[in-house]
Protein backbone atom coordinates (compact mmCIF):
# COMPACT_ATOMS: atom_id res chain seq x y z
CA UNK A 1 0.00 0.00 0.00
CA UNK A 2 1.33 3.47 -0.89
CA UNK A 3 0.34 7.09 -0.37
CA UNK A 4 -0.83 7.24 -3.98
CA UNK A 5 -3.87 5.28 -2.90
CA UNK A 6 -4.98 8.25 -0.81
CA UNK A 7 -7.59 10.45 -2.51
CA UNK A 8 -5.40 13.17 -4.05
CA UNK A 9 -8.25 15.69 -4.05
CA UNK A 10 -8.18 15.53 -0.24
CA UNK A 11 -4.50 14.74 0.33
CA UNK A 12 -3.42 18.38 0.50
CA UNK A 13 -3.03 20.02 3.95
CA UNK A 14 -5.48 22.88 3.35
CA UNK A 15 -8.12 20.68 1.72
CA UNK A 16 -7.74 18.03 4.40
CA UNK A 17 -8.35 20.72 7.05
CA UNK A 18 -11.40 21.99 5.15
CA UNK A 19 -12.88 18.50 4.83
CA UNK A 20 -12.27 17.58 8.49
CA UNK A 21 -13.69 20.91 9.69
CA UNK A 22 -16.85 20.54 7.60
CA UNK A 23 -17.19 16.89 8.66
CA UNK A 24 -17.26 17.99 12.32
CA UNK A 25 -20.64 19.63 11.67
CA UNK A 26 -23.79 17.53 11.96
CA UNK A 27 -25.32 16.30 8.71
CA UNK A 28 -27.40 19.06 7.11
CA UNK A 29 -25.36 21.95 8.55
CA UNK A 30 -23.20 24.40 6.67
CA UNK A 31 -20.47 26.89 7.56
CA UNK A 32 -20.06 30.44 6.34
CA UNK A 33 -17.03 31.22 4.21
CA UNK A 34 -15.72 33.74 6.76
CA UNK A 35 -16.00 31.35 9.72
CA UNK A 36 -14.35 28.58 7.71
CA UNK A 37 -11.56 31.00 6.83
CA UNK A 38 -11.10 31.80 10.55
CA UNK A 39 -10.89 28.12 11.42
CA UNK A 40 -8.56 27.12 8.59
CA UNK A 41 -6.39 30.24 8.63
CA UNK A 42 -6.09 30.79 4.86
CA UNK A 43 -6.40 33.98 2.82
CA UNK A 44 -9.74 34.34 0.98
CA UNK A 45 -8.02 33.70 -2.35
CA UNK A 46 -6.34 30.49 -1.21
CA UNK A 47 -9.52 29.23 0.39
CA UNK A 48 -11.54 29.87 -2.77
CA UNK A 49 -8.97 27.92 -4.82
CA UNK A 50 -9.22 24.89 -2.56
CA UNK A 51 -12.99 25.10 -2.28
CA UNK A 52 -13.32 25.15 -6.07
CA UNK A 53 -11.21 22.02 -6.33
CA UNK A 54 -13.35 20.22 -3.75
CA UNK A 55 -16.54 21.49 -5.39
CA UNK A 56 -15.36 20.17 -8.77
CA UNK A 57 -14.95 16.69 -7.27
CA UNK A 58 -18.45 16.92 -5.76
CA UNK A 59 -17.19 16.72 -2.17
CA UNK A 60 -18.59 20.08 -1.07
CA UNK A 61 -21.25 22.55 -2.16
CA UNK A 62 -21.10 26.33 -1.90
CA UNK A 63 -24.19 28.46 -1.97
CA UNK A 64 -24.37 32.22 -1.96
CA UNK A 65 -27.36 33.78 -0.24
CA UNK A 66 -28.33 37.43 -0.10
CA UNK A 67 -26.47 40.32 -1.68
CA UNK A 68 -24.29 43.26 -0.68
CA UNK A 69 -23.29 43.46 2.98
CA UNK A 70 -25.74 40.69 3.94
CA UNK A 71 -24.26 38.24 1.43
CA UNK A 72 -23.29 34.91 2.96
CA UNK A 73 -21.56 32.03 1.24
CA UNK A 74 -22.45 28.73 2.85
CA UNK A 75 -20.06 25.81 2.48
CA UNK A 76 -21.27 22.28 3.21
CA UNK A 77 -19.93 18.76 2.88
CA UNK A 78 -21.91 16.50 0.54
CA UNK A 79 -22.73 12.91 1.43
CA UNK A 80 -20.20 11.90 -1.23
CA UNK A 81 -17.63 14.13 0.47
CA UNK A 82 -18.30 12.56 3.85
CA UNK A 83 -17.94 9.08 2.35
CA UNK A 84 -14.70 10.14 0.60
CA UNK A 85 -13.25 11.44 3.88
CA UNK A 86 -14.21 8.17 5.59
CA UNK A 87 -12.42 6.22 2.85
CA UNK A 88 -9.41 8.54 3.13
CA UNK A 89 -9.26 7.96 6.91
CA UNK A 90 -9.47 4.19 6.43
CA UNK A 91 -6.66 4.12 3.85
CA UNK A 92 -4.58 6.46 6.04
CA UNK A 93 -5.03 4.18 9.07
CA UNK A 94 -4.02 1.15 7.03
CA UNK A 95 -0.94 2.99 5.74
CA UNK A 96 0.08 3.98 9.27
CA UNK A 97 -0.55 0.44 10.57
CA UNK A 98 1.52 -1.09 7.80
CA UNK A 99 4.34 1.38 8.44
CA UNK A 100 4.47 0.92 12.23
CA UNK A 101 7.03 -1.60 13.59
CA UNK A 102 5.51 -4.88 14.71
Amino acid sequence: MSEEELDQAIHVPARLRIMVTLASLPDGDDLSFTRLQDLIGLTPGNLITHLRKLEDTGYITTQRNGSGVTARTAVALTSGGRAALDRYSTVLRELLDSASPR
Binding site: L31, L39, N46, R64
Partner: protein
Protein backbone atom coordinates in the same frame (compact mmCIF):
# COMPACT_ATOMS: atom_id res chain seq x y z
CA UNK B 1 -18.60 32.90 -4.18
CA UNK B 2 -18.65 36.47 -2.99
CA UNK B 3 -15.16 36.59 -1.53
CA UNK B 4 -13.40 37.07 -4.85
CA UNK B 5 -11.57 40.24 -3.83
CA UNK B 6 -7.91 39.72 -3.12
CA UNK B 7 -7.79 36.33 -4.74
CA UNK B 8 -4.26 34.98 -4.71
CA UNK B 9 -4.04 31.48 -6.03
CA UNK B 10 -1.58 29.12 -4.46
CA UNK B 11 0.15 26.70 -6.82
CA UNK B 12 -1.12 23.18 -6.22
CA UNK B 13 2.43 21.95 -5.71
CA UNK B 14 3.10 24.42 -2.89
CA UNK B 15 0.00 23.29 -1.04
CA UNK B 16 0.42 19.56 -1.02
CA UNK B 17 4.02 18.59 -1.45
CA UNK B 18 5.73 16.81 1.39
CA UNK B 19 2.69 15.61 3.32
CA UNK B 20 3.24 12.00 4.29
CA UNK B 21 0.73 9.72 6.01
CA UNK B 22 2.00 10.67 9.46
CA UNK B 23 1.68 14.39 8.61
CA UNK B 24 -1.83 13.87 7.27
CA UNK B 25 -2.85 12.09 10.48
CA UNK B 26 -1.49 14.99 12.56
CA UNK B 27 -3.32 17.56 10.40
CA UNK B 28 -6.57 15.59 10.70
CA UNK B 29 -6.25 15.38 14.47
CA UNK B 30 -5.45 19.10 14.82
CA UNK B 31 -8.31 20.15 12.52
CA UNK B 32 -10.73 17.87 14.37
CA UNK B 33 -9.69 19.25 17.78
CA UNK B 34 -9.83 22.87 16.57
CA UNK B 35 -13.28 22.46 15.00
CA UNK B 36 -14.49 20.55 18.06
CA UNK B 37 -13.40 23.22 20.50
CA UNK B 38 -14.45 26.23 18.38
CA UNK B 39 -17.79 24.98 17.09
CA UNK B 40 -19.01 23.29 20.27
CA UNK B 41 -21.23 25.21 22.69
CA UNK B 42 -19.40 25.42 26.02
CA UNK B 43 -22.10 23.64 27.98
CA UNK B 44 -20.30 23.63 31.34
CA UNK B 45 -20.37 27.45 31.23
CA UNK B 46 -24.11 27.35 30.51
CA UNK B 47 -24.68 24.92 33.39
CA UNK B 48 -22.69 27.12 35.78
CA UNK B 49 -24.63 30.22 34.67
CA UNK B 50 -28.06 28.65 35.06
CA UNK B 51 -27.11 26.67 38.16
CA UNK B 52 -26.01 29.85 39.95
CA UNK B 53 -29.09 31.76 38.73
CA UNK B 54 -31.39 29.03 40.11
CA UNK B 55 -29.45 28.61 43.34
CA UNK B 56 -29.36 32.34 44.13
CA UNK B 57 -32.84 33.19 42.78
CA UNK B 58 -34.74 30.36 44.47
CA UNK B 59 -32.49 30.60 47.52
CA UNK B 60 -33.34 34.29 47.99
CA UNK B 61 -37.05 33.53 47.62
CA UNK B 62 -36.80 30.73 50.15
CA UNK B 63 -35.08 33.05 52.65
CA UNK B 64 -37.84 35.63 52.19
CA UNK B 65 -40.72 33.17 52.72
CA UNK B 66 -39.11 31.19 55.54
CA UNK B 67 -41.12 31.54 58.74
CA UNK B 68 -44.05 33.39 57.15
CA UNK B 69 -47.35 32.91 59.02
CA UNK B 70 -49.63 33.26 57.17
CA UNK B 71 -47.87 32.61 53.89
CA UNK B 72 -48.02 35.63 51.56
CA UNK B 73 -45.28 34.83 49.04
CA UNK B 74 -41.73 36.01 48.25
CA UNK B 75 -40.78 39.66 48.84
CA UNK B 76 -40.80 41.89 45.75
CA UNK B 77 -37.06 42.48 46.10
CA UNK B 78 -36.37 38.77 45.68
CA UNK B 79 -38.74 38.58 42.70
CA UNK B 80 -36.84 41.50 41.15
CA UNK B 81 -33.52 39.77 41.89
CA UNK B 82 -34.79 36.57 40.24
CA UNK B 83 -35.94 38.50 37.20
CA UNK B 84 -32.52 40.18 36.89
CA UNK B 85 -30.76 36.83 37.29
CA UNK B 86 -32.97 35.39 34.56
CA UNK B 87 -32.08 38.28 32.25
CA UNK B 88 -28.35 37.91 32.96
CA UNK B 89 -28.52 34.14 32.38
CA UNK B 90 -30.33 34.70 29.06
CA UNK B 91 -27.75 37.26 27.88
CA UNK B 92 -24.83 35.00 28.90
CA UNK B 93 -26.51 32.03 27.17
CA UNK B 94 -26.99 34.02 23.95
CA UNK B 95 -23.33 35.06 24.04
CA UNK B 96 -22.02 31.54 24.69
CA UNK B 97 -24.17 30.04 21.92
CA UNK B 98 -23.15 32.83 19.54
CA UNK B 99 -19.43 32.11 20.10
CA UNK B 100 -19.89 28.56 18.87
CA UNK B 101 -22.73 28.92 16.39
CA UNK B 102 -21.54 32.02 14.57
CA UNK B 103 -21.41 31.17 10.87
CA UNK B 104 -23.08 27.78 11.33
CA UNK B 105 -26.27 27.43 9.32
CA UNK B 106 -28.60 24.69 8.19
CA UNK B 107 -30.53 22.27 10.40
CA UNK B 108 -28.77 23.24 13.64
CA UNK B 109 -29.82 26.85 13.15
CA UNK B 110 -33.47 25.80 12.78
CA UNK B 111 -33.13 23.51 15.81
CA UNK B 112 -31.73 26.34 17.95
CA UNK B 113 -34.63 28.57 16.90
CA UNK B 114 -37.21 25.94 17.84
CA UNK B 115 -35.46 25.29 21.17
CA UNK B 116 -35.56 29.03 21.97
CA UNK B 117 -39.20 29.19 20.88
CA UNK B 118 -40.10 26.24 23.14
CA UNK B 119 -38.47 27.94 26.15
CA UNK B 120 -39.97 31.40 25.52
CA UNK B 121 -43.46 30.12 24.59
CA UNK B 122 -43.43 27.65 27.50
CA UNK B 123 -42.54 30.28 30.09
CA UNK B 124 -44.97 32.83 28.64
CA UNK B 125 -47.75 30.22 28.85
CA UNK B 126 -46.79 29.42 32.45
CA UNK B 127 -46.91 33.09 33.43
CA UNK B 128 -50.34 33.50 31.82
CA UNK B 129 -51.58 30.32 33.49
CA UNK B 130 -50.35 31.49 36.89
CA UNK B 131 -52.13 34.83 36.43
CA UNK B 132 -55.31 33.03 35.34
CA UNK B 133 -55.14 30.79 38.42
CA UNK B 134 -54.74 33.83 40.67
CA UNK B 135 -57.75 35.52 39.11
CA UNK B 136 -59.73 32.27 39.48
CA UNK B 137 -59.13 32.44 43.22
CA UNK B 138 -56.11 30.16 43.75
CA UNK B 139 -54.53 30.78 47.16
CA UNK B 140 -51.05 32.31 47.62
CA UNK B 141 -49.52 28.95 48.66
CA UNK B 142 -50.93 27.23 45.56
CA UNK B 143 -49.62 30.04 43.34
CA UNK B 144 -46.20 29.81 45.01
CA UNK B 145 -45.95 26.05 44.49
CA UNK B 146 -46.96 26.41 40.84
CA UNK B 147 -44.69 29.41 40.27
CA UNK B 148 -41.68 27.63 41.75
CA UNK B 149 -42.05 24.15 40.27
CA UNK B 150 -43.63 24.80 36.86
CA UNK B 151 -40.41 26.32 35.35
CA UNK B 152 -38.52 23.19 36.48
CA UNK B 153 -41.22 21.04 34.91
CA UNK B 154 -41.07 22.96 31.61
CA UNK B 155 -37.24 22.93 31.50
CA UNK B 156 -37.20 19.21 32.39
CA UNK B 157 -39.62 18.36 29.57
CA UNK B 158 -37.63 20.44 27.04
CA UNK B 159 -34.38 18.71 28.07
CA UNK B 160 -35.86 15.20 27.95
CA UNK B 161 -37.56 15.83 24.59
CA UNK B 162 -34.45 17.37 22.99
CA UNK B 163 -32.03 14.74 24.31
CA UNK B 164 -32.90 12.46 21.38
CA UNK B 165 -32.89 15.13 18.65
CA UNK B 166 -29.20 14.90 17.75
CA UNK B 167 -27.69 11.97 15.88
CA UNK B 168 -26.45 10.53 19.18
CA UNK B 169 -28.54 10.35 22.36
CA UNK B 170 -27.45 13.13 24.69
CA UNK B 171 -27.24 11.31 28.03
CA UNK B 172 -26.33 14.43 30.01
CA UNK B 173 -29.37 16.30 28.73
CA UNK B 174 -31.64 13.32 29.35
CA UNK B 175 -30.33 12.89 32.92
CA UNK B 176 -30.70 16.59 33.68
CA UNK B 177 -34.23 16.67 32.23
CA UNK B 178 -35.33 13.70 34.33
CA UNK B 179 -33.69 15.21 37.41
CA UNK B 180 -35.53 18.53 36.93
CA UNK B 181 -38.83 16.68 36.51
CA UNK B 182 -38.13 14.84 39.78
CA UNK B 183 -37.27 18.16 41.47
CA UNK B 184 -40.53 19.71 40.20
CA UNK B 185 -42.63 16.77 41.36
CA UNK B 186 -40.83 16.35 44.70
CA UNK B 187 -40.65 20.08 45.39
CA UNK B 188 -44.40 20.50 44.92
CA UNK B 189 -45.02 18.06 47.80
CA UNK B 190 -42.81 20.14 50.07
CA UNK B 191 -45.37 22.93 50.29
CA UNK B 192 -45.00 26.65 49.47
CA UNK B 193 -41.92 27.28 51.64
CA UNK B 194 -39.88 24.10 51.24
CA UNK B 195 -40.49 24.04 47.48
CA UNK B 196 -38.19 27.08 47.07
CA UNK B 197 -35.42 25.36 49.05
CA UNK B 198 -35.81 22.17 47.01
CA UNK B 199 -35.69 24.10 43.72
CA UNK B 200 -32.62 26.09 44.88
CA UNK B 201 -30.58 23.19 46.25
CA UNK B 202 -31.71 20.22 44.18
CA UNK B 203 -32.54 22.19 41.01
CA UNK B 204 -29.70 24.73 41.02
CA UNK B 205 -27.30 22.24 42.61
CA UNK B 206 -28.19 19.59 40.03
CA UNK B 207 -27.52 21.97 37.16
CA UNK B 208 -24.19 23.02 38.72
CA UNK B 209 -23.24 19.37 39.19
CA UNK B 210 -23.94 18.80 35.50
CA UNK B 211 -21.12 21.28 34.70
CA UNK B 212 -18.72 18.68 36.16
CA UNK B 213 -20.46 15.53 34.89
CA UNK B 214 -21.28 16.57 31.31
CA UNK B 215 -17.68 16.86 29.99
CA UNK B 216 -16.90 13.41 31.43
CA UNK B 217 -20.03 11.88 29.89
CA UNK B 218 -19.16 13.46 26.54
CA UNK B 219 -15.61 12.08 26.60
CA UNK B 220 -16.69 8.56 27.56
Amino acid sequence: MSEEAGTRNVPESAAGVGMDAQGAAVIMQQAKERAGSELRVRRPLLFVTWGLALLIGYGAMWLSVRGQHPFHGPAWQTLLLSFLLLLIALVVTAQIVDWAASGVGGRSEVRRGIFALAVVAGYAALLIEKTAMASAGASRPVQAVLGATAPMLAAGLVFVATSAVAARLNWARLALGLWLLAVAAGGAWGGPVTTFAVCALAGGGGVLLMAIIEPRLRRS
